[in-house]
């Protein structure tokens, strides 16, 4: 298993290289340059050119790329043009929010998604099934920010039960209370994704329940709920595990909209603002971190596959 992990991580390197070239090209092709944004409205072209030179952005692209690449290989992602702080610390700040948000959203998905999925599969066709899968699909059709806006209005502004936006850093156990800042955002994010998971659990459970070994289980006189959980769901979990992996990865990076509505200092928000500010090192750093995250999540999904399904062997 360990060897397999190493092998997979090694294959990550070409992907990272490709991604880094792609991102570097994209980012430098976008019109607008950091120096003019930094200096603001009244800066004269000479002043902008001077600062560009100081920041080393006037050198040809290729030189800049390799200069940056050599630094990255040594683990130094450079300094943010905007904050002056090291890129990694800027990203780490955002990463904590995004990952906590994604984790909390996954909790909702597991608490709501799986039981409802199993329920609607077990009562296939009856009103329970139609209600839940219909409801799940309805939630999957709601634009995230629209839902977020109304959740803020109702629960934060009118009822005042929960904070409306922002997320103070969690720098110790005492600060766990800050998690309530993520309640509304995680529910907003969970709704559409839970709907996907519900439909997936239902579909894969229905497929599995048609297989012969389930009939064997019934022939053993087992209680229907034991058949549903131990035999049907256990097998359906394999397909569901894959979807969980992708959903988590998507949550961390797709949560841009939710982060904007709730103004959470996450990675998504960081990239949007960095692109508006043309903060090249941060954009490149974040994209690489996200590519690594995707690769790690894919790897975890494959490892989970092997754990869940003995037929899969890790070559």
């Amino acid at each position: 298993m360990f060897a397999y992990t190493i092998k997979r991580l090694l294959t990550l390197i070409p992907t990272l290289l490709a991604a880094s070239v792609l991102v570097f090209l994209f980012v430098h092709l976008i019109p607008g340059d950091p120096a003019s944004i930094l200096l603001g409205d009244t800066a004269t072209p000479e002043e902008v050119a001077a600062l560009t030179k100081e920041l080393g952005l006037d050198k040809p692209l290729i030189v800049q790329y390799f200069y940056w690449l050599i630094q990255v290989v040594q683990g130094d992602f450079g300094r943010s043009l905007f904050f002056g702080a090291p890129v990694l610390s800027v990203i780490a700040n955002g990463a904590q929010t995004s990952i906590l948000l994604a984790l909390m959203t996954m909790v909702w998905i597991v608490i709501f998604g799986i039981p409802i999925g199993v329920l609607s599969a077990s009562y296939q066709g009856r009103w329970v099934d139609q209600l839940t899968s219909g409801g799940a699909m309805l939630f999957a059709s709601v634009p995230t920010f629209w839902l977020g806006l109304y959740l803020i209005l109702i629960f934060a502004v009118w009822l005042g039960w929960l904070p409306s936006s922002g997320f103070p850093a969690i720098d110790g156990v005492g600060a766990l209370g800050h998690l309530r800042y993520l309640l509304l955002p995680s529910l907003t994010l969970a709704a559409p994704n839970a709907a996907l998971i519900i439909r997936l659990v239902r579909a894969s459970m229905l497929d599995v329940s048609r297989e012969d070994h389930v009939r064997t289980a019934r022939a053993k006189g087992l209680h229907p709920s034991r058949v549903a959980i131990k035999h049907i769901f256990r097998n359906a979990l394999i397909a569901v595990a894959a979807a969980f992996g992708f959903t988590f990865a998507a949550l961390v990076s797709e949560a841009v909209v939710t982060e904007t509505v709730f103004s959470l200092p996450g990675i998504g928000q960081l990239v949007v603002q960095s692109i508006l500010r043309r903060d090249y090192p941060v954009i490149q750093g974040v994209i690489l971190v996200i590519v690594v995250l995707y690769a790690v999540v894919n790897l975890l999904v494959d490892l989970a596959y092997a754990r869940l399904d003995p037929r899969v062997s890790l070559q």
Binding site: H213, T216, A217
Partner: protein
């Protein structure tokens, strides 16, 4: 009192809003330790009958619409779900056609046998595991101590069917229903499995209901035979009486279509026509469109049951003359 009595059983399937009959009233019985073979082309209702007896029709569009099934004197249709489940896997058990997919791929075979044991008996995990190893040995699986922990995909089709048999017989059931157990296996393994079943029957006194479309298999292993055609029993008799004196043209047709090794034949005989669709209803004897000896009477009214020998019955107007 026979172990299993099926009296005028009727089964129908709910399709596109209506109930279409599949089994149209069949009766037969099996005594303890006896082997009954049910043979017929696919679609004649033999598999559904076995599922009905085993109680596996819940949650499927198939319903029992008439008749009784009595097992050890109890009418199975009166039992509630819990009582029905108490019998399944303990008093009666079943093995299926597709060994490759009949075992749960994610659990070790030992655990799947243990599951059946612990469902019906107060037995510790350790004791159940030991019992499972014994059962694997009983069904002639090599190195049962190791194989108990292997996964289904690590075993061949024949071995898996043996595991199914071990699992089925784990609680020493009175009745074993085998729905085409060897069809998916190649011939050599087929023989081994059938011998194993006969041997275990000998040792444990288990009654067997063997369902197959292969007359050869039935002839070799069964004490008595029921030939089903389109939801009805065309002919039933002890195996020797049946082959001694055929009393139904359909059975004759089945027999003739088996190639004989030492006879070189230009064309293999086949029964002309096809089995009528489930939603076609046919006047008179259901077999008349394909029966070489069909007369007017066959086309008009249904044949009633004719007794030929002491247990030899046939549903054919000319049962008596249909001799070889």
């Amino acid at each position: 009192m026979p172990l299993l009595e099926v009296d005028n059983l009727e089964i129908a399937i709910a399709m596109r809003g209506q109930l279409l009959p599949v089994v149209r009233g069949i009766s037969f019985s099996v005594d303890e330790g006896e082997t009954l073979g049910i043979v017929g082309e696919s679609g004649c209702g033999k598999s559904l009958t076995s599922l009905a007896i085993m109680g596996l029709l819940d949650g499927t569009p198939v319903r029992i619409t008439g008749g009784d099934i009595r097992f050890e004197g109890q009418d199975l249709r009166q039992l509630n779900r819990r009582e029905r489940r108490a019998i399944m896997g303990s008093r009666m058990a079943m093995i299926f056609q597709e060994p490759m997919t009949s075992l749960n791929p994610v659990y070790r075979i030992g655990d799947q046998i243990v599951e059946n044991l612990r469902q019906h008996q107060k037995i510790s995990q350790k004791a159940a595991r030991a019992r499972a190893i014994e059962l694997l040995e009983l069904v002639r699986i090599p190195e049962p101590q190791q194989r108990v922990d292997s996964y289904p995909h690590q075993m061949s089709g024949g071995q898996r069917q043996r595991v199914m048999i071990a699992m089925a017989l784990s609680c020493d059931p009175k009745l074993l229903i085998a729905d085409e157990p060897t069809t998916a296996l190649d011939v050599t393994v087929q023989k081994e499995v059938l011998d194993l079943m006969a041997d275990l029957q000998e040792r444990m006194g288990t009654a067997i209901v063997l369902i197959s479309h292969d007359l050869g298999v039935i002839a070799e292993t069964c004490d008595k035979v029921a030939v089903m055609y389109r939801g009805k029993i065309a002919e039933a008799a002890p195996t020797d009486d049946l082959f001694a004196r055929l009393a139904h043209p359909y059975t004759r047709g089945l027999l003739n279509s088996i190639p004989v090794v030492d006879r070189d034949v230009e064309w293999l005989e086949a029964i002309p026509g096809r089995v009528p669709g489930i939603d076609e209803d046919i006047e008179g004897c259901a077999f008349h469109p394909r029966c070489p000896r069909a007369q007017d009477i066959c086309r008009r009214n249904e044949p009633k049951q004719h007794r030929i020998g002491n247990e030899h019955t046939s549903h054919c107007h000319f049962a008596e003359e249909a001799a070889p």
